[in-house]
């Protein structure tokens, strides 16, 4: 390496700060083609990535790609008046994926040197050759719908690089938020912030070289109240603040301090809330809650690898199988139900310029007017649906859903942002409550569990409100609802409009073996679902 690590860090921070006003628009980035790189390591990385794919080709690979990543993350944790953890983590390395006679091989290492990238490329080829022993059908890659991108650059729309903000400012922010919670009577309060900045170089034998800088930020707080007799405790998590693909400005906008007293009040109310009576209720689900139900009961079952059995040993298969009996035929929900996938919404967690196999992601319908019409795909998987795309006069091409959590992991199909689109009428949360005679309104995500084909799910929440004759009449506790996915979406009879649409999301979307975490957002308005089965989860120890 010609650039020392220190120089690399220093100049990358400066370059990122200088670049912080640039928009994250791919077209604009392309127009700026010849400008100075966003960070200084890239010429070395480009060279090493090219070396890796050349070594793979020389060893017999028909296709190869190399991802080099330098990821920095930071965690600050607190409880009450104390900082419990300040951690800064840098991980640096590369992974080489190769195809040899229709079989994948992958190897990765943290030692970024000319010799090591060549060794690892050869190791990946050796993996592929070993894997051929158990091959039945060789794999094929769908063509990419755009010409190779020789110098692609993309950056999350972060206004403030979190790593340029002083630690003492971050600590002071959390301590002030905790002080506000304690002043409001919190028994315990934990707060934290997490940041990621991942600088990724991708190169493939097809001539694409991209460099992207991905930011993620999540501030959060949990308030715990304990009853006077020590027999009950309740928590309120700050689920109204969702993780975003943004910088430190997301923390400032979240303003935990401003919300802390309300969260304390809500946790207190949970201690004295009325236990729910089991039965069937109309549920009104807030976007801060509904995103997780969409994640589990729409986004996961529409992953094509699941539908073909590839994840059967862990994440599971899908009730949307076999595809030929589902595509264009399965009614997911009412006519007004539209589900659209994207990796472009500003600040969303899966946003990027190119996926982890060099494909520019596209926005596409998964559910159109209530009917299931498409799966999430990668280049390998798009070929499996060739028959469907031909029948629809659509090109057979990847939707751009390839992702690997770090340099050390092989990329595979991961969900983009999967969003439930708002309805045509300008309805908001209060309108749905006002229209409901006997229901429960649920705010914030809580516990969640769903079977391996995504039929039977159970969800909790943060706050549960009894709704009688169009009004909230009190708080309930120990609420969970159980659904069968197709019935649940077909029981949706009201949906909010554009004004009530919000992004929720999470960093910890697990899939694959070894399990990898994907970060994804889900946009949605509030919805109402008729006559859903509600259970009471409170039991005496």
């Amino acid at each position: 390496m010609s650039t020392s690590r220190r120089d690399f860090l220093r100049s990358s921070a400066a370059a990122a700060a200088a670049a912080s006003l640039l928009t994250a628009d791919r077209a604009q980035a392309a127009a700026l083609g010849g400008r100075q790189p966003l960070w200084s390591g890239d010429s070395d990385h480009r060279e090493l990535a090219m070396r890796a794919i050349d070594a793979a080709r020389a060893a017999g690979a028909s296709y190869a790609d190399c991802r080099i990543s330098s990821a920095r993350s930071q965690n600050i944790g607190t409880r009450e008046r104390r900082v419990t953890n300040i951690g800064d983590n840098e991980t640096f390395g590369f992974g080489v994926r190769v195809m040899v006679e229709g079989t994948w091989g992958f190897a990765a290492s943290s030692e970024l040197s000319a010799d090591e990238v060549a060794r690892v490329a050869r190791q990946a080829v050796a993996q592929a050759r070993a894997n051929r022993r158990a091959m039945v059908k060789p794999l094929e890659l769908a063509p990419i719908h755009h010409p190779p991108v020789p110098n692609g650059q993309w950056r999350s729309p972060a206004r403030i690089d979190p790593f340029t903000v002083a630690i003492e400012d971050k600590v002071a922010y959390l301590m002030e938020a905790n002080a506000a919670a304690l002043a409001a009577g919190a028994r315990f309060v934990n707060s934290q912030m997490f940041f990621l900045k991942d600088e990724k170089t991708f190169a493939s034998t097809e001539g694409t070289v991209t460099q992207q800088t991905i930011f993620r930020a999540q501030p959060g707080m949990t308030v715990t109240m304990v009853s006077a007799d020590n027999r009950d405790f309740q928590t309120r998590q700050s689920t109204d603040i969702q993780p975003k693909g943004l910088g430190y400005e997301h923390v400032l906008d979240a303003d935990l301090k401003r919300h802390a007293a309300r969260w304390v009040e809500e946790a207190k109310q949970k201690l004295t809330a009325k236990p729910v009576e089991v039965g069937r209720y109309d549920l009104i689900l807030h976007p801060t809650h509904l995103w997780l139900t969409i994640h589990e009961a729409i986004a996961h079952p529409t992953e094509l690898d699941r539908a073909y059995g590839f994840e059967a040993n862990y994440a599971g298969t899908s009730f949307l199988s076999p595809p030929e009996q589902m595509l264009g035929k399965f009614r997911y929900g009412p006519d007004f139900m539209n589900v659209v996938a994207d990796r472009s919404a500003p600040g969303s967690l899966s946003a990027c310029g190119w996926d982890d196999e060099g494909v520019a992601p596209e926005s596409f319908h998964i559910v159109k007017n209530g009917i299931f019409v498409d799966y999430q795909t990668t280049r390998e998987q798009a070929m499996w649906l060739d028959w469907w795309y031909k029948s629809q006069n659509m090109p057979t091409r990847s939707h751009g859903c390839s992702y690997a959590q770090t340099w050390a992991d092989v990329q595979f199909q991961r969900m983009p942002n999967v969003n439930l689109m708002p309805g045509e009428r300008d309805l908001v949360w209060d309108d749905l409550i006002a229209a409901t005679e006997n229901g429960i309104a649920i705010v914030g995500d809580g516990s969640f569990s769903i079977d391996q084909q995504r039929y039977n799910a159970q969800f909790g929440g943060q706050l549960f409100y009894e709704v009688k004759n169009g009004k909230i009449t009190g708080m309930l506790k120990d609420v969970a609802y159980q659904i069968r996915t197709p019935e649940f979406w077909n029981a949706m009879d009201m949906i909010g409009g554009q004004r009530s649409y919000e992004l929720g999301g999470a960093f910890g979307d697990g899939k694959g073996q070894p399990s990898q975490s994907n970060a994804v957002s889900h946009g949605c308005p509030p919805t109402r679902h008729k006559q859903v089965n509600v259970i009471n989860t409170g039991r005496q120890a």
Binding site: F106, A108, Q123, V136, D232, Q458, S515
Partner: protein
């Protein structure tokens, strides 16, 4: 094994290499106190789906964590580059951040040199699982499944890791560990049957791929045409994996401080914790012992303290909770932790004998999507998966559709009817080596199923 013994052991830092890096970091340090920990090694895996290998790969990583302390101020920095400049930068970064941190009133001084028992968790066969050996093991399953007209999917992962810790007070420890897990789900071609088998160990030679294939194939075949049954309270015979899926949840609730603070099942009404109270059936003893060769683990903790054997529940009575150094000092207790291993005693029954003594009940292979619902009772929800059968009049009579439960391992162990011999199992849902866990098959009455699922 001769061919295997010629193979290269997966790359990791040797004791001398790790010690040299620790020494270098400590030389760079200008802090009042400094601690270095290094994790290095290889994670190697082979995945298969639809009877062929889908992806496989290995990765080598070596990460150095530096903890710098000035007075009561502390910060941690982790990097995975080991050259001098990177290490010096990391030390300077940790020191810069630590100086900006507020005082931590709970900060304890670093430990001086400690004595550790020798860990018994390294195995050369596991550490040398190269791609072709893994592919051969996988073929033992895929070829049997294909010959049976079935579809196998699965995962083999081997880890070989070296852990080193040193501090500015002269403490040093270096330990190596291996772990391997091999799991498979075999399904019928029409998707109407599904069976799972899996194993986890630190020694790959104790895992028999052929036996895994046979178990999963048999379950896949027997699970076809499952009937729906009414949810409700059932007597269940839990195979060791299913039992471990739920019993291990107790391990996550053992934190003493949470109990003392009133936010745990182990909190006592009126204040304090439940140490000394009987919470489950008197036949139950739950413990961690890193030196047990069946479920071994490292004998050094992340802060350098030695890990020994601890009994959590003895004859149904809470004996210990997990105390970190600070909370142990504050409350005058012994420091204790699970150290990544959990084991339960057992009985003399077998799965077959427990079935034979059951009038009506369910046999469960494993549980899935296990998530906390109510920490006050360690209540979790999840579903059965890949082999759920009805027991009638002492015999397994037919497959049944999967069921969702809302249940607590505490309630389960109060409703204990019988136990088999404890077995090491693969109880992590993701199929990774996970923590070493050894649990018996068990028969439980009144297990709470709350709905049925159409998932196969």
């Amino acid at each position: 094994m001769s061919s295997r013994s010629l193979r290269a052991v997966a790359r990791h830092l040797s004791r001398a290499e790790a010690e040299a890096i620790c020494k270098r970091v400590l030389e760079f340090s200008t802090a009042d106190e400094c601690r270095v920990t290094i994790n290095s090694g290889v994670r190697a895996n082979t995945r298969f789906a639809v009877n062929q290998i889908s992806t496989a790969g290995d990765n080598y990583n070596a990460a150095v964590s530096i903890r710098s302390v000035f007075g009561k101020k502390v910060a941690n920095v982790t990097v995975n580059r080991l050259d001098e400049a990177a290490l010096r930068d990391a030390v300077q970064n940790a020191e810069r951040i630590a100086k900006l941190a507020p005082d931590d009133p709970e900060l304890l001084p670093e430990l001086g040199p400690q004595t550790y028992q020798d860990a018994v968790v390294w195995n050369d066969a596991t550490a040398s699982l190269e791609p072709d050996v893994r592919a051969d093991a996988v073929r033992q399953i895929t070829e049997r499944a294909r010959a049976a007209g079935l579809v196998s999917t699965g995962y083999l992962e081997a880890q070989a890791q070296a852990f080193a810790i040193a501090n500015s007070k002269g403490l040093f420890a270096y330990q190596r560990s291996t772990g391997v897990a091999f799991t498979t789900t075999v399904r019928t071609e029409d998707g109407q049957g599904s069976g799972w088998a899996g194993a986890s160990d630190n020694d790959f030679t104790r895992i028999d791929p052929r036996q895994l294939a046979e178990r999963a194939i048999e379950k896949a075949r027997r699970s076809v045409n499952a009937a729906a049954i009414e949810p409700g309270r059932y007597t269940v015979v839990l195979e060791p994996t299913a039992a471990a899926n739920l019993i291990q949840l107790i391990g996550g609730a053992l934190n003493a401080r949470n109990a003392d603070e009133g936010r745990s099942f182990f909190s006592k009404a009126g204040g304090g914790n439940k140490i000394g109270e009987k919470v489950v059936d008197e036949r139950v003893t739950l413990y961690s012992n890193p030196l047990d060769p069946r479920v071994p683990a490292n004998t050094v903790n992340g802060d350098g303290s030695p890990v020994g054997a601890t009994t959590w529940i003895e004859n149904g009575v809470v004996k210990n909770l997990a105390y970190d150094r600070f909370w142990a000092q504050r409350t005058g207790k012994q420091q204790s932790s699970t150290g990544g291993t959990l084991a339960m005693n057992g009985g003399t029954e077998t799965v077959e004998s427990m079935i034979a003594s059951t009038q009506r009940g369910l046999l469960v292979t494993r549980f899935w999507y296990i998530r906390g619902v109510d920490p006050r009772t360690i209540l979790f929800t999840g579903l059965t998966r890949d082999g759920t059968f009805l027991i009638e009049n002492g015999r397994v009579t037919r497959p049944v559709k999967n069921l969702r439960y809302n249940e607590s391992p505490i309630f389960m162990l109060n409703n204990l009817l019988a136990m088999g011999r404890p077995e090491r199992v693969s109880a992590s849902e993701s199929g990774g080596p996970g923590q070493a866990i050894m649990i018996p098959a068990m028969k439980i009455r009144d297990f709470n199923f709350t709905s049925t699922s159409d998932a196969i």
